[in-house]
Assembly symmetry: C2
Homo-oligomer: 531 residues x 2
Amino acid sequence: MSALRVAIGQVDSTVGDFTGNADRIRAVVTDSVAGGADLVLFPHMVLTGYPLGDLAGSTAFQAAAESALTSVARDVPDDVVVVLGTLGTDDEGRPFPKAVVIQDGEITTHTRGDGAPEDDATGQTLTVGGFRFGVSTGTELTGAGSSPQDGALDALLVLYASPFEVGHQAARDRLRRACAGKFGVPMFAANLVGGQDDLIFDGDSCVTGRDGAVVLRCPAFREDVLFVDFDGSTPRAADPAYVEPPQSDPVGEIYEAITLGLRDYVRKNGFDKVILGLSGGIDSALVATMACDAIGAANVIAVSMPSAYSTQHSRDDAAALAKATGLDYRVQPINTLVDAVQQELALSGVAEENLQARLRGLILMAISNSEGGLVLAPGNKSELAVGYSTIYGDAVGGFAPICDVLKTMVWQLATWRNTQARHRGEPEPIPQHTITKPASAELRPGQQDSDTLPRYDELDALLHAYLGERRSAAELIAAGFAPQTVQRVMRMVAGAEWKRRQYPLGPRVTSWALDRDLHLPVTSAWQEQID
Amino acid sequence: MSALRVAIGQVDSTVGDFTGNADRIRAVVTDSVAGGADLVLFPHMVLTGYPLGDLAGSTAFQAAAESALTSVARDVPDDVVVVLGTLGTDDEGRPFPKAVVIQDGEITTHTRGDGAPEDDATGQTLTVGGFRFGVSTGTELTGAGSSPQDGALDALLVLYASPFEVGHQAARDRLRRACAGKFGVPMFAANLVGGQDDLIFDGDSCVTGRDGAVVLRCPAFREDVLFVDFDGSTPRAADPAYVEPPQSDPVGEIYEAITLGLRDYVRKNGFDKVILGLSGGIDSALVATMACDAIGAANVIAVSMPSAYSTQHSRDDAAALAKATGLDYRVQPINTLVDAVQQELALSGVAEENLQARLRGLILMAISNSEGGLVLAPGNKSELAVGYSTIYGDAVGGFAPICDVLKTMVWQLATWRNTQARHRGEPEPIPQHTITKPASAELRPGQQDSDTLPRYDELDALLHAYLGERRSAAELIAAGFAPQTVQRVMRMVAGAEWKRRQYPLGPRVTSWALDRDLHLPVTSAWQEQID
């Protein structure tokens, strides 16, 4: 058998954008052919975007997908084979994800899969250049499915749509090894890249050897085409200068994932700018910096809205960030508005605190209504878990970039970003004082988060153990958390569910995102007994 | 065989309230024994409440359920058999709903079911007074499961947790007939009653003959104990004065369902009052009236918040409703606040309109923060579907009573409620003018909903066909809807998804509730082609 060149197209599709997705596929095919490819592999559901929700059941959507497939196939040259994922329908009109092969002007549906070659391996194989490939599609590689007869396959083609979460790349590498151990052949795997609502597809498309160890990999968090030569033994990079992309550190990959998710949310929803309040605190400082990295500082409107309780250092910190990043900085004090409302309503306590946050929310939404632009909510995961935020106040917005980031990680991300800037010889975007000062909502004189909440290192560890690892109160106490703290935090988590339900969506970066992965009833009398 | 008396306990459980639920079960058992019952049947998951979400996976919750069961069983007298639904765990600790039988001081797990007797009918039967009963539990009666050998069973005991939706009672009656046709024996079926977040369990517990036709039925939307005598033939009411509860008309049952859902949300979440804005329009008038019916007018704070654009007739209509119902009426004009914000921000157009709505939301939340009380959002389903509401304005609140009610049904409900009042010789709560005047948000001079939206009869018919029946654009146009209207409404529905995600929960009364039953991506480029 001769050698074959495979191109893996790691592309960023948009749900329902058949014209755009088809154009992107065509462009990659053209580039792949120019690069000498015999076979081009695309991800799961690349033509439709993913996930589709109810759109998958729409007959008009299904018809548009078929039409786009026909149109793409028409433009595939005869000297190349294209394998891509799209939406199919069975005989009863039910939708299912399928992999199709475009070869010699013909479209064949090759598999409906769960990420593993089907039992009927002979019916699911594809022959190109004398090599037999198994084809499978799905959201994750499961390692399920039967092994074909010995020697029946030369390699596997896997079409993924596997979203990012911290540590997921290592988990996928383990799955690949397990699967390869079963089939004993190299694997070519194409994953989607890009943001879709709360999900961030990280790419991480790759090629393994017979033992399932990754030998080639696309860079994460961006589009890429990887050219691979295959002669039946371990695949090799077509480009002799290929270097495996460096693996991001765990903090950096979260930063990159969120900026990708934010950029794609803005772009795919037709916005050209974002708007947020800039308090001088760490949360809004990080979100502002991420927004500048995602869509450019000129497209980021940041509004300082000081009240009588805002400290001078916070105002200075906000201004310093604005200067360092170059974003569109505005100052709109709220004292006059607070006074006007107070003359009518004479609020005190929590009502007065929330009033300030809500007037700020009102101002941001007014700017959005007047000038366009997506409002970003700066709430972090620790706050959302325990309800330490003002609904309709700091919670307003269409997208919440750090809603799946615990407060301790917020500080780490800020530090990481500043370190990157230093390495690049750029000014640090986030003022050191913003990182080092005690956290405060500044809604009353001298207020600090620690008045109301446990220390963030303790709170975050507790939240991770309780919500991430699903530990019981007894287990948490046995692990060393104070019983009163456990009880208090459990009550706060339960009591905040109604607010979380109304929070804007934002990028999921862990396996225990509060919206997608946590399913608590709002109405519940349940409290774990603490002895 | 002698005759047996069966009591069906249709009770309103609260999720996680083991003490309260167990007490309620004990009280019904005591009453049932006093009423001569040999067997007491309770609904699915009656001891834990339902549905549980992630709570079902909590080992502490599972242990508390077991403990509550032991405690209940201890108090069951030896001369009665109790069958109830609760949460079980399998050998690997996975939770599943189970039916347990408490008989002679023993607790036996009788089935884990899908609403139909299991294949192994002999293992799933219960013998009381010489009669053999099949036992099954689940959310709906499915009619699945195998028929046992002829003559093996004398009757079926079915434990339900089947939520209300319009027309559901008739659908259940059809399922019962289908199931009885298979088993050919009478059926005793106990359903939960009461609200749990967006779901309303309507009760409708019942008894059928061998042909599956309902012969006895509990009243809907309230707790009840039904005593039934069974001698092997068609069951009869123990009370010779039993009269089948009249079936509500389709409008009335929606009204009753919502008031139950609202009352239970308020009560189970520990509120003692509700707060809402009262504009003089139909939506807030209906919600205020429902709230008065649900928890008493003295516990309903209704705030008129006129702006410069509020008409005198709307202010008068709000005051008239307040007078007719006796609710806690307050007037808080917003002109001063609008002026204060406008001096700072100088908003116009939609931004100015939304400002008024947001200041009203801010006032309601300030009252809630100051005085306690649950804020009710008055948005109807037609508005939510197309996004005709102000997020963080009229959308604020913890519960949205009519979020699954189309505008045309809002008018019908208001008329139905006034008719009820006339029949009872009471004053009509909702001013006629509120019902008859053209709908308007009154956010600019002379504004009417019809400036922006199709006529509500057309819009509602279109929404039902598009979202309820999942018709394509081509089908909608073939059915007579104008192509431009179809296109416009489809775009509005897609564009409002981000706002719907942040809307408060509210009672589901149809099979196509916008939150539970509609799953649209926020980010989507999909538009059906309109020729």
